[in-house]
Symmetry: C2
Subunit: 303 residues, 2 copies
């Protein structure tokens, strides 16, 4: 396994693999790998000749008040896991490689002081409309940070296929749209949510590490709400407003859980559904203590 930190080197490896007609699979991550990531890595390993995993905590997708500084970083453990999973290349650029800093003389006055504005990166990739609801309402910098960094990573790794988790459903839909809109020659695979064993079924996330034991118990409300909502749909509920209201109430009944949103949406353009037909996205975001958690489920009419 190679550990590569330079974009140019990564591109040379990708070019060389492509000249040999090898298929490159790519799993972009922010590290702190869990079974959710490993399920992506496993699928990518099986489907490609070469497997690249990137580890880069992208400042552009964090707002100033978010957990960029404290985001878990466990490079040694991640490296070991990648080695075990048969990863060929870990691409882990330093911050200054991805966002070269501005010369000091240009920093004063004109530019703001957040991390990204001290970089000389002036270019952003933006997807409109489908980024405005759900997480986009609560994390205004998030999707533009994601689409910009994913574009940069794609240009570094030059994959044939990229793997994302359904846990970040809106992110996956946004990246899929970006790939299509910008003619990126990349196949995208979205793989199922991996949940903790047991009835609480907490969706795996690197941020679960922030939860204390009491908060971890409270977090069960997410999967519980999704499961019951799905049962209601199976039993014939078709009113999206009534269903999302029930989801909101069910979560807000828990005093330790602060609701951000609970929506019943179209699975592609992510607009709230008034009348549910054969398919719907159930999507939730909450805060428990200092930790933001999201979860979702796709419901499809049986038969």
């Amino acid at each position: 396994m190679e550990i590569i930190s330079k974009i140019k080197t990564m591109q040379e490896i990708a070019d060389s693999l492509r000249r040999e007609n090898k298929k490159i699979g790519f799993v972009p991550t922010m590290g702190a790998l869990h079974q959710g990531h490993l399920s992506l890595i496993k699928a990518a390993r099986e489907q490609n000749d070469a497997l690249v995993v990137s580890i880069f905590v992208n400042p552009l997708q964090f707002s100033p008040e978010e957990d960029y500084e404290s985001y878990p970083q466990v490079m040694e453990k991640d490296t070991e896991l990648c080695e075990q999973m048969g990863v060929d290349v870990i691409f882990c650029p330093e911050m200054a490689e991805m966002y070269p800093p501005l010369p000091l003389r240009e920093r004063d006055g004109v530019r703001e002081t957040t991390v990204e504005r001290q970089s000389m990166c002036l270019t952003t990739v933006h997807v409109s409309e489908i980024t405005s609801g759900l997480c986009g309402l609560f994390r205004p910098c998030f999707f533009q940070g994601v689409t910009t960094v994913v574009t940069k990573l794609f240009h570094a790794v030059k994959p044939h296929t990229a793997y994302f988790g359904q846990k970040d459903y809106q992110q996956a839909v946004v990246i899929k749209k970006m790939i299509s809109d910008l003619n990126m020659d990349i196949e995208m695979q979205i793989l199922p949510i991996i949940r903790e064993k047991g009835e609480k079924g907490l969706a795996l996330s690197s941020r679960n590490a922030y939860l204390n034991p009491e908060e971890r118990i409270q977090a069960g409300i997410l999967f519980e709400t999704l499961r019951i909502a799905k049962l209601m749909l199976d039993n014939g509920e078709r009113d999206g407003v009534r269903l999302s209201s029930w989801m909101k109430e069910n979560i807000e009944a828990n005093p330790l859980v602060l609701l951000e949103y609970a929506e019943v949406c179209d699975t592609e353009i992510l607009k709230p559904l008034f009348q549910i037909e054969t398919r719907a996205l159930l999507a939730l975001a909450v805060r428990i203590g200092k930790t933001r958690l999201i979860d979702n489920m796709i419901w499809e009419q049986a038969g």
Copy 2:
């Protein structure tokens, strides 16, 4: 020579060339090829194994009041010229291939009615700061339209080297920044302005075709102003404000020429220079009748 209209086919050709370790040169154009384009094509032909020229009039870079509908289209003549220049592939996608239209049912009400908003393309590539002055002030949609379509074309053609003309100096600087910021693995070459023979020295542009004989004479003021400004710099002028004021007055003395801007700028971040040191961009934009013309010159201290 192949004429390719599908993105997928273009990508397959590019992949196949790259597998054979062939270098791909790329000249993106909006057609109506003149000697300026041909100088790019000639350089690209000499420096690459395979040469792709794209012809696509991009609606995203035109404002509603601009000349998108009347922009010259002479596909047959362009094809002949490309054939003569030894071009390997003309990539000329239809509008619906680059910007697939929205299904009719989604068009009403919610979306605006300009061309680009009837497409289902939700993704844009934006470069900040260096797009705000000069042409960016007068053409607010322009650079975002350019960076978005150039990204789409790059992903279709997968070039090693792309060729642009210095005539659109700001555009070239913006694209160069985008390539660097987004880690695009593409070398960019910016080649000199080609001018009409004779002392008027009108910079070649597809839009010169709009000028009537009287307007063509008036258009001489652009190159004249740049030439004299350069002489003033050679003779020791170092005050950017005084120099740009002189340029403005010299142009505005001509009643048939409407000045947009005349600036003396830094050559990289395109900010107005108060004190000129060893290098400066002299940049002009005017309207003559219905025609918008731009021109520029880079001054460098001799020795």
